[in-house]
């Protein structure tokens, strides 16, 4: 496998280099049930919806599905009833950084990429995919984490830690609450997952949007308790850990977020998502940032 060696920063990278070419699409007449199937199988947070003429007309995200669950829609409901439209687009030749700005300013999590020539959808750009790219650049960097690990005495660069990037507020629900209350909590805070604590205040599990839509598909009611749906134990890392190590853990374990604990594992002080890391927008060490200043100026 070739290792990327041409650049050590994201500047100058095009959307085409960062986008995911596999775009999961469904017709607007397809059912919510079918949409959940695709989200689980392809591990995507949103599906592009097209009309009878194959035109992209909307997007259905896990949040939208969770809303349908909360509202009591049957899973046979057609996606056109819950989709949000129109989708936002960028082009393969666009600068990656410009597109990330668009996403941040519009408060959206993904842009679909229109083929410059054919007007067909050629890919999708989402934060977690960029993290993979960042990770590659980090590894290829002369002064990156892995190289310095090997030559300890050359490790002159201060590296970012999880606490520098994490979201420091954590919302939680109690383990005796029902799914409707969990959904309310998730909707209020715009997080992908919520921590579950027991009556002693100890973290006992996590419920993600994915867990909720799976429960929805399996016929669970929103009136049922959270325990059978939550995942335990809590996937976590320490606040003082290096960001690169946490990133590697998320990429290898294929999880979208880690809860962050203080030196006391039961004390959750924040959450680190792949999207946080990508919004951070550069490599995970000062070496990358400084080289970027040089190249980018």
């Amino acid at each position: 496998m070739p290792v990327v060696e041409r650049r050590s920063v994201l500047s100058g990278i095009s959307v085409e280099e960062a986008m995911r070419k596999q775009v999961v699409q469904l017709p607007k007449s397809a059912s919510i049930d079918n949409c959940i199937n695709r989200m689980i199988k392809y591990k995507v947070n949103a599906v592009l919806i097209s009309d009878e003429e194959q035109h992209p007309v909307g997007v259905v995200s896990k949040t939208d599905i969770m809303g349908a669950f909360y509202a009591g829609f049957p899973t046979e409901t057609a996606l056109e009833n819950i989709m949000v439209g129109p989708p936002l687009f960028c082009y393969p030749d666009d600068e990656l950084e410009t597109s990330l700005d668009t996403m941040r300013q519009s408060g959206i999590h993904r842009l679909y990429v229109l083929g410059a020539e054919s007007n067909a959808v050629a890919g999708v750009l989402a934060y977690p995919d960029i993290v993979g790219l960042l990770y590659r650049y980090c590894r290829a960097c002369d002064r990156g984490l892995l190289k310095t690990r090997r030559k300890k005495d050359e490790d002159k660069f201060e590296r970012y830690k999880v606490k520098d990037v994490m979201t420091a507020s954590v919302s939680y629900r109690r383990d005796n609450e029902n799914l409707a209350q969990v959904i309310e909590g998730l909707s209020a805070h715009h997080f992908g997952a919520v921590l579950i604590k027991n009556s002693h205040g100890d973290p006992v599990g996590v419920v993600s949007k994915t867990d909720l839509i799976v429960a929805y598909k399996h016929g669970v009611s929103v009136d049922e308790g959270v325990e059978p749906v939550m995942k335990a134990p809590v996937q976590s890392c320490e606040a003082e850990a290096y960001l690169a190590t946490a990133l590697q853990q998320m990429l290898l374990k294929d999880v979208q977020r880690l809860f962050v604990h203080s030196s006391e594992p039961r004390q959750i002080v924040g959450v680190l998502s792949l999207s946080d890391a990508a919004r951070f927008r550069s490599g995970s060490c000062r070496a990358c940032v400084s080289s970027r200043l040089v190249v980018g100026s």
């Binding site: 959940i36 199937n37 799976v214």
Partner: protein, 154 residues
């Protein structure tokens, strides 16, 4: 020569409510019992009505970590062991959650040439044979191949 002449009537099916772990075991059981590698299994409900298909690819797509494009650069970790945690994480997922629901089927009287045409055009290796809604057999591309080309083999 029609479907019922070449279809296999000794076949295994999955249930939509099987877990992915159960599905993997059933792939192995089916391969051993039918004495050939089984790449795809039909999914049928309690009444033997076909509701989907699940292939090894479907399971691999689902199990494979999403950001695999970085794996090639990780020389110092054996990712095989990391699957343990993935498997734990996905134990709530059922066959119906990832199976393919748009399945092309044929009838027992579908002509061999039509079967070959469908298999070529849609790039399908196996076609469930249904009578009404009930699954009665499965036609494999290898059987179509040898049936059509047996003149070559004499």
């Amino acid at each position: 020569m029609i479907a019922q002449d070449i279809m296999q009537t000794n076949f295994h099916t999955l249930r939509p409510g099987n877990t992915i772990a159960e599905a993997v075991k059933l792939f192995q059981v089916a391969s051993e019992s039918e004495e050939k590698k089984i790449f795809g299994l039909m999914v049928a409900d309690e009444e033997d009505h076909l509701v989907g298909m699940l292939s090894m690819y479907d399971i691999l797509i689902f199990i494979q970590p999403k950001h695999t494009h970085i794996w090639g650069e990780i020389e110092d970790i054996d990712p095989t062991g990391l699957f343990d945690e993935s498997l734990e994480r996905v134990k709530s997922i059922l066959v119906s959650d990832i199976m393919t629901t748009e399945v092309i089927t044929i009838q027992p009287d579908t002509h061999l040439m039509v079967i070959a045409d469908i298999m070529i055009k849609k790039h399908i290796r196996r076609l469930p044979v249904t009578e009404g809604k009930e699954v009665v057999g499965i036609v494999y591309v290898s059987d179509v191949f040898y049936q059509l080309l047996n003149k070559f083999l004499v």
